[in-house]
C-alpha cells in the first residue's frame, strides 16, 4: 500500500468523491488558488474547475448557512471553515439550522453536508487559534462529529462523511497533516460511528481520538517496556459515540484512562468515563482517570503551550498512579 501523508489522504478522498458524484462541491476561504489554509484542497480546482471549487469571503455565518441551503437544494457541499475556532461563527448555522432540518420539519428533508476544519493546538498559534472545541459540537444531536487520527482513517472517514445523508463535522488536526501512513488506493470506506482498537493490550484501556491517539500509542509502547500492556481505543467518531468498543475493552482490562487535548471539564473523557462506570461498574478495579488539556487559554510561548497539552509522559504517569493505587 502506498505511504502518503494525512494531508494527501484527505486530498485524495476529496478528489475521488468529486469524481464519483457530480453533486459534491467544495467552498470555503482560500480553497482555490491557496489550496486551503493547510493545503488540503490544493490542485482540486485544476481538475474540477471553479464551478466545483469556490472561494468564499471571510464570512463564516454565510458559509455555514449556504452549505445548509445548498444541501437542501440537492447538492452535497463540503464546506471548509478553516479552523474549529472560526466554526463558532458558524455554530448557529450548524446547531440551529443543519442539526434541526430533518426532525423539526417532520422528516421532509435531510441535509447531507460536510464541514471540514482543523482543530487542536501545538503550533504556537496562541489561544484563539489553538482550541479543541469538539466537545461543544459533539454535544448536539442531529450532527455527526468525526476526528481521524491516521492517514488511512482520514481518507476512509472523509469519503464516508461525504456520502452520509447527515451534517457531518469533520475535524482534522494541525499537527497530523505531515504524518505518513499506508493508505489503500481507490474505494476505501470506514463507517462513521465505529471506534477502532489501534493496539491490543490486557492491562488497561487508553481511550483517545485524533492526535491524542498517537500520544496514547506512544505511551502504550513505553508502558509495555515496564510490563504494562495497554489497549488503545481510537474513538474516531465522537457522535455517534461507539461506547461498545470501549466497554468490551474495559471489561477485559478493568481499568481505563482517557486522553484528549480538549479542556478536561465537560470534555470528551467525561462522557466516556461516565458511560464506563455506568455500564461496566462491576468490572472496574480502579477509577477512570482523564488526561486532558490544562484548563487555560493556550499560550503562544512554546514551553507554556507544551506544558498545557497532554503528552505520553503524562499518560504513563496517570496509568502508573492507577496501578500504584490498586496495588496499595
Amino acid at each position: 500500500m502506498p505511504m502518503i501523508t494525512y494531508r494527501e489522504a484527505l486530498n485524495q478522498a476529496l478528489r475521488e468523491e468529486m469524481a464519483r458524484d457530480e453533486r459534491v462541491l467544495i467552498f470555503g476561504e482560500d480553497v482555490v488558488a491557496y489550496g486551503g489554509a493547510y493545503g488540503v484542497t490544493s490542485n482540486l480546482v485544476k481538475e474540477f474547475g471553479e464551478k466545483r471549487v469556490m472561494d468564499t469571503p471571510i464570512a463564516e455565518l454565510g458559509i455555514g448557512g449556504t452549505a445548509v441551503g445548498a444541501a437542501m437544494g440537492g447538492l452535497r457541499p463540503v464546506a471548509e471553515l478553516m479552523t474549529i475556532n472560526f466554526a463558532l461563527l458558524a455554530s448557529d448555522a450548524i446547531i440551529n439550522h443543519a442539526a434541526k432540518v430533518l426532525h423539526m420539519f417532520g422528516g421532509q428533508m435531510s441535509v447531507p453536508l460536510v464541514f471540514r476544519m482543523v482543530g487542536g493546538g501545538g503550533a504556537q498559534l496562541a489561544s484563539t487559534h489553538s482550541q479543541s472545541l469538539e466537545p461543544m459540537f459533539a454535544h448536539v444531536p442531529g450532527i455527526k462529529v468525526v476526528m481521524p487520527a491516521t492517514p488511512a482513517d482520514a481518507k476512509g472517514l472523509l469519503k464516508s462523511a461525504i456520502r452520509d445523508e447527515n451534517p457531518v463535522l469533520f475535524i482534522e488536526h494541525a499537527l497530523l497533516y505531515r504524518v505518513r501512513g499506508e493508505v489503500p488506493e481507490g474505494e476505501y470506506l470506514i463507517p462513521l460511528g465505529k471506534a477502532e482498537v489501534k493496539r491490543e493490550g490486557s492491562d488497561i484501556t487508553l481511550v483517545a481520538y485524533s492526535r491524542s491517539t498517537l500520544v496514547a500509542l506512544e505511551a502504550a509502547d513505553r508502558l509495555s517496556q515496564e510490563g504494562i500492556e495497554a489497549e488503545v481505543v481510537d474513538l474516531r467518531t465522537l457522535r455517534p459515540l461507539d461506547i461498545e468498543t470501549v466497554l468490551t475493552s474495559v471489561r477485559k482490562t478493568n481499568r481505563a484512562v482517557t486522553v484528549e487535548e480538549a479542556w478536561r471539564t465537560y470534555g470528551i473523557g467525561a462522557e466516556v468515563a461516565s458511560r464506563i462506570q455506568e455500564e461496566a461498574f462491576d468490572y472496574l478495579d480502579a477509577p477512570i482517570r482523564r488526561v486532558a488539556g490544562v484548563e487555560v487559554p493556550l499560550p503562544y510561548a512554546k514551553n507554556l503551550e507544551q506544558a498545557a497539552i497532554p503528552d505520553a509522559g503524562r499518560v504513563v504517569e496517570a496509568v502508573k498512579q492507577l496501578f500504584a493505587r490498586t496495588a496499595a
Binding site: 464570512a59 449556504t66 437542501m72 437544494g73 447538492l75 423539526m104 420539519f105 417532520g106
Partner: protein, 332 residues
C-alpha cells in the same frame, strides 16, 4: 410614503379569476390568523404565535409571481406565506395544534411551516439565519441548471444582522437567482426601525452589494405583485439577486405574548385605514370586478375553509410518543 405607484387594475394584466383569487387568499389568511389568535387565547395553541394581520398583500402579491418549481424560504411569521403558496390549511392548523397531521408532524409549530412538495422550505425562527440558506438554494439552482428562483422573505429587523450582510454579498458574488424581500413593518419586536437601523429606508442597504433594489407599497397587493414579478424575471434571466422593500404594518402585536407598550393606538388605527384587504376589495368593486354575490361567496368559502381546518385539526391525533425518536438522523 414614496412607494412605486399602483398599477391600475386594468393595466395589471391580470384576469378577473386571478384578481378574485388574490382577495380570496388575503381573506383566508386574515381569518386563519384571527382564528389562531382565538385558539391561542383558549389554550389550544401554545409557544410563540406571530400573526400576519395587515401584511397579507405582501405574501399574496409576491408569492403569486412564483412558478411551481420555484422555492420559498421565510422567517417565522409564516402562516401567510404558507397559505399564499397553497399549503393545506387543514394541515397548517393541525400544526398549530401540535397534531400528527400537521405540516411538520406537530414538531415545528407556528414558526416552522414546511412543505417540500410545494417548495415552501420553512418557516425559520433565528432572525436572518435563513438568508444564507436562500443563497445556498440559489447556488444549487444554478449549479444544477434548474432555473429555480428563490424568494427569501424577512423583516426590517433582520437587516441589522450579520447574516444579512454576508448573505447579500455572497448572493451577488455568486450571482444566485434569489429575490430578497424585506417586509418593513416598521418594527422588529418592540423596536422601531429608526431605533435599530442607521437608515430607515431598507433599499439603501442593498447598495454596497450592487444589488438592484425597489421600494414598494406593501398595502397594495398589485404593486407588490408587479415589483416582485420584475425581480423574479431578473433573477430567472440569470442576472442575479434582487432586493425588494415592502413597506407594511402589522396590526397585531409581535407575538401573542406582546403587551404592545411601544406604539400608540393612534398609529395603529391610522394604518388600519390602509388595510390591504379593504383597499383591494374597494378597488375591485370600483372596477366592477366584484359583485355583492361574488364577495359573499368568497367570504363564505374562506369562512368554511377555516372552520373545516379547525375541525380537522381538533379531530386529528397527537403524534405518537415514538415519533420523538424519529428523524434524528437520516439513513443513507
Amino acid at each position: 410614503m414614496e412607494a412605486s405607484t399602483v398599477a391600475h387594475i386594468a393595466g395589471s394584466g391580470l384576469d378577473k379569476k386571478t384578481l378574485l383569487n388574490f382577495l380570496h387568499q388575503m381573506l383566508l389568511i386574515r381569518k386563519f390568523e384571527d382564528k389562531s389568535a382565538e385558539l391561542y387565547a383558549r389554550g389550544k395553541i401554545a409557544g410563540f404565535l406571530h400573526l400576519y394581520n395587515g401584511q397579507e398583500a405582501s405574501a399574496v402579491g409576491a408569492i403569486s409571481t412564483l412558478s411551481e418549481q420555484d422555492l420559498l424560504i421565510t422567517h417565522y411569521r409564516d402562516h401567510g406565506y404558507a397559505i399564499a403558496r397553497g399549503m393545506d390549511v387543514n394541515r397548517c392548523m393541525a400544526e398549530l395544534l401540535g397534531k400528527a397531521t400537521g405540516v411538520a408532524k406537530g414538531r415545528g409549530g407556528s414558526m416552522h411551516f414546511f412543505d417540500a412538495s410545494l417548495g415552501m422550505l420553512g418557516g425559520w425562527a433565528i432572525v436572518a439565519g435563513h438568508m444564507p440558506l436562500a443563497v445556498g438554494l440559489g447556488l444549487a439552482s444554478n449549479y444544477l441548471a434548474k432555473r429555480q428562483v428563490v424568494l427569501c422573505i424577512f423583516g426590517d429587523g433582520a437587516t441589522n444582522n450579520g447574516y444579512f450582510h454576508e448573505a447579500l454579498n455572497m448572493a451577488k458574488l455568486w450571482k444566485v437567482p434569489v429575490v430578497f424581500l424585506c417586509e418593513n413593518n416598521l418594527y422588529g419586536m418592540g423596536t422601531a426601525v429608526h431605533r435599530a437601523s442607521a437608515v430607515v429606508e431598507m433599499i439603501r442597504k442593498a447598495a454596497p452589494y450592487d444589488i438592484p433594489a425597489e421600494r414598494v407599497d406593501g398595502m397594495d397587493v398589485l404593486a407588490v405583485r408587479a415589483a416582485t414579478a420584475k425581480a423574479v424575471e431578473h433573477a430567472r434571466r440569470g442576472d442575479g439577486p434582487y432586493f425588494l422593500e415592502v413597506v407594511t404594518y402589522r396590526f397585531r402585536g409581535h407575538s401573542m405574548a406582546d403587551p404592545i407598550l411601544y406604539r400608540d393606538k393612534a398609529e395603529v388605527e391610522e394604518w388600519k385605514q390602509r388595510d390591504p384587504i379593504v383597499i383591494f376589495r374597494a378597488r375591485l368593486e370600483q372596477e366592477g370586478l366584484l359583485s355583492p354575490q361574488e364577495l359573499e361567496q368568497i367570504e363564505r368559502e374562506t369562512d368554511e375553509l377555516v372552520v373545516e381546518a379547525v375541525r380537522f385539526a381538533e379531530e386529528s391525533p397527537d403524534p405518537p410518543l415514538t415519533d420523538l425518536y424519529e428523524d434524528i438522523y437520516a439513513s443513507p
